[in-house]
């Protein structure tokens, strides 16, 4: 198979699987799940072949909308280092999700629907990665939203899941509102929707103000999909979905779409300085706020969700930094592995503790679940950037990039986060794994079986080594662990982040060692700065209030004036004229004769 065929197969195979499950396979759910998993394996295999390198390539395209000179929208694929690397992340994580789900969803009634949703997700994610133009990216962008709606709302008979699915979709829609405006503005400014043509034309754009607005609007899409402030509220709720979904899709791949999109349009971001600064700031603020929220969460999955938010903030920040895009993508890549590891580890813990998610009801799991503990600790080490783990290298790259560009504001925030992350992750590990058992569920916990710990071990390996050349070589052109560079430039950044690590970890040990309940209580952090509540109020006031007002206006103002007024006029006229129709022949005759006389008099005079 040549490269073009492979690329198209990778894109279309999951769609074919999803459609065939929908059309008929759904009756045999076992077969459906196997077919879906098989297709994920095939796409992974093909992507490994693609990753072998080669020239940048625009695969042949299919004309979607053809409006002559006015507009041409093609569905075309682009294969370069960026999309190849991202495809490998997407398909490998995707394959893991499928595999894990085979066991996890074995007895679920909606298994076929679940796997159809997974395949649809693979299709849409692949589409985003391979898209060669904005509209195509937007198409798959929306489809990712749909598949995430289907997957989060998988247990739709639960109110919480149904609400979370709706919330995720609508929040993303708000981001997409900006994204679409951005696309339209970019089209207006450069006359094209194709990335390569925009790249060529963007230098000639004179209206710098509008360009900045356009780039910011495009970034709105990423705010929604990558759950940045202020549209971050959907991601923690999305944990209502089945664990493989919340763990892998909403931690490793789907939310990375926003980062990927910005990396794809680096040339645009770089040309709009103001917008880039805003991007860096929003990323940094998100990283900080989410880390603060994570400090006081007690649900193990929620802590990880907020840490995901925080790490996404890092990646977005990198996209706003000049020459930082590669660092951001590098972090995306390492993060995908160690965050997947942490989520699956938490899944194993939850599973072992009989669906207990509160860390204060765990404790002492280190001895009962040694393998899970070790892998979880490795994941934590990578997340808190212990030197020589993968997370260390990628985070270092982002901080270095911000430092190099003298973006002091975001840089400072990012450094603060580097103090906070070790603190809350160490808190999680100490509370959940050390100390004594604090509930019966934790008391009865047993080590999970090999089906669950083998993926953990594999991911633990990746969490440590994924940053090194022998693994990144084919993937990331510009991101890899560079020890020589580190030693040569051991400067402010490295010092600060290592200090943060040491301070964070020791502070957490000091505060939480041997404690049975949280010694620190900061309600604002625990209640996520009340943002969800504020949003609910805002929605109640502005959207529901406005819609009620409009409804009343429609009922009692517009309808009466536009519809009833003419009707009333007709009715009144009728009832007045009816007085003269008394049904007596002689009266009619009398009026008739009067009228005739009047007419004659009128005509004669």
């Amino acid at each position: 198979m040549d490269v073009t065929t492979i690329a198209w197969t990778v894109l279309l195979l999951p769609l074919i699987v999803a459609v065939s499950i929908l059309l008929g396979l759904k009756r045999w759910s076992g077969l459906a799940s196997l077919v879906s998993t098989g297709s994920a394996f095939i796409t992974l295999f093909l992507c490994i072949r693609l990753a072998g390198g080669g020239d940048d390539l625009e695969a042949a395209s299919f004309s979607w909308i053809n409006m002559g000179d006015a507009l041409q929208i093609d569905i075309g694929l682009v294969l370069d280092d960026l999309s190849r690397g991202m495809m490998l992340i997407v398909t490998s994580i995707g394959f893991l999700v499928h595999l894990f789900s085979l066991a996890y969803m074995k007895d679920d009634a909606g298994k076929s629907r679940y796997f159809a949703g997974l395949s649809l997700f693979m299709f849409s994610m692949t589409g985003i990665v391979l898209a060669d133009n904005f509209i195509m990216m937007f198409i798959f962008w929306e489809l990712v939203g749909v598949s995430s709606y289907i997957l989060i709302g998988h247990w739709f008979e639960k109110d919480s899941a149904a609400d979370a699915a709706k919330k995720a979709f609508l929040t993303n829609r708000i981001g997409d509102f900006g994204f679409m405006i951005g696309i339209l503005l970019v089209w207006t400014l450069t006359g094209s929707i194709y990335f390569n043509e925009i790249a060529a034309a963007v230098g000639g754009v004179e209206n710098a103000k509008l360009l900045n607005i356009a780039v910011f609007c495009v970034f709105c899409g990423a705010i929604g999909k990558s759950a940045q402030l202020p549209l971050h509220v959907w991601l923690p709720d999305a944990m209502e979905g089945p664990t493989p979904v919340s763990a892998l899709i909403h931690a490793a791949t789907m939310v990375a779409a926003g980062v990927f999109m910005l990396a794809r349009v680096t040339f645009l971001v770089e040309s709009a300085e103001m917008a880039a600064t805003v991007i860096a700031w929003i990323g940094a603020i998100t990283a900080l706020v989410a880390a603060l929220m994570a400090l006081q969460q007690n649900d193990i999955k929620r802590i990880l969700a907020y840490s995901t938010l925080s790490q996404l903030g890092y990646m977005i920040m990198a996209q706003g930094v000049h020459h930082g895009s590669d660092a951001g993508m590098f972090h995306l890549y390492t993060h995908a592995f160690f965050k997947a590891l942490l989520f699956l580890g938490s899944g194993a813990v939850i599973y072992a503790c009989h669906h207990e998610q509160d860390i204060w009801k765990m404790g002492g799991l280190r001895k009962k679940m040694p393998i899970t503990f070790i892998t979880f600790a490795i994941g934590t080490a990578a997340l808190i950037a212990v030197p020589f783990t993968s997370g260390f290298w990628s985070k270092e790259a982002i901080l270095e990039a911000a430092h190099h560009e003298h973006l002091w504001g975001p840089y400072t925030l990012a450094i603060i986060v580097a103090f906070l992350t070790p603190f809350y992750m160490t808190r999680l590990v100490i509370v959940a794994f050390f100390g004594k058992n604090r509930s019966d569920n934790a008391d009865h916990a047993k080590e999970v079986g090999p089906i669950m710990w083998v993926p953990l071990a594999l991911l633990a390996f990746m969490a440590v080594f994924s940053a090194y050349d022998f693994l990144t070589g084919p993937l990331m052109a510009n991101g890899h662990a560079d020890i020589g560079h580190l030693i040569g430039h051991f400067g402010l950044t490295a010092t600060l982040s290592l200090t943060g690590l040491v301070v964070g970890v020791s502070a957490a040990i000091y505060f939480y060692k041997g404690k049975d309940k949280d010694p620190i209580s900061i309600p604002a952090f625990a209640d996520r700065f009340y943002i969800d509540e504020i949003y609910e109020k805002l929605i109640a006031i502005f959207q529901d209030g406005a819609s009620k007002v409009c409804d009343l206006l429609d009922r009692y103002f517009i309808d009466p004036i536009v519809a009833r007024f003419p009707a009333m006029t007709a009715m009144t006229t009728g009832s007045i004229l009816r007085i003269f129709q008394m049904g007596n022949v002689q009266t009619y005759a009398f009026m008739f004769s009067i009228a005739v006389v009047a007419l004659i008099v009128f005509l004669i005079s």
């Binding site: 049904g583 022949v585 002689q586 004769s593």
Partner: protein
């Protein structure tokens, strides 16, 4: 030929006839009387027609078109009377009254 009768005489008579007929139509309650009064009005119109025709002298000859028209009208009027009386009979059969004051179902 010397005649005391002028067009005015005919018109006055015709006017009286018409006025009597109209008054009858408007004030009498019995539908048959009303009908007869209607005929009276028709006759008044006919008289006017003939009178105008007779006195429209052209080159010493009166115009006879009016007379001809009159015959048509009488013929049609005869038919009309037949129809009208038939309706009245039918009306009396169903309502058992000839009082127009009571024939006002159109009102409701």
């Amino acid at each position: 030929m010397e005649s005391a009768l002028t067009l005015d005489h005919f018109l006055i008579v015709s006017g009286f006839l018409f006025a009597i007929g109209l008054a009858g139509v408007l004030v009498r309650r019995n539908i048959i009387v009303i009908f007869m009064c209607l005929e009276l009005m028709l006759s008044a119109a006919n008289l006017t027609l003939v009178a105008f025709s007779r006195f429209n002298v052209h080159e010493g000859q009166p115009s006879y078109e009016g007379h001809v028209l009159l015959f048509f009208i009488i013929t049609v009027a005869a038919a009309e009377v037949a129809v009208g009386l038939a309706i009245i009979v039918a009306l009396y059969r169903s309502r058992e009254t000839t009082d127009v004051g009571k024939l006002n179902t159109m009102k409701n």
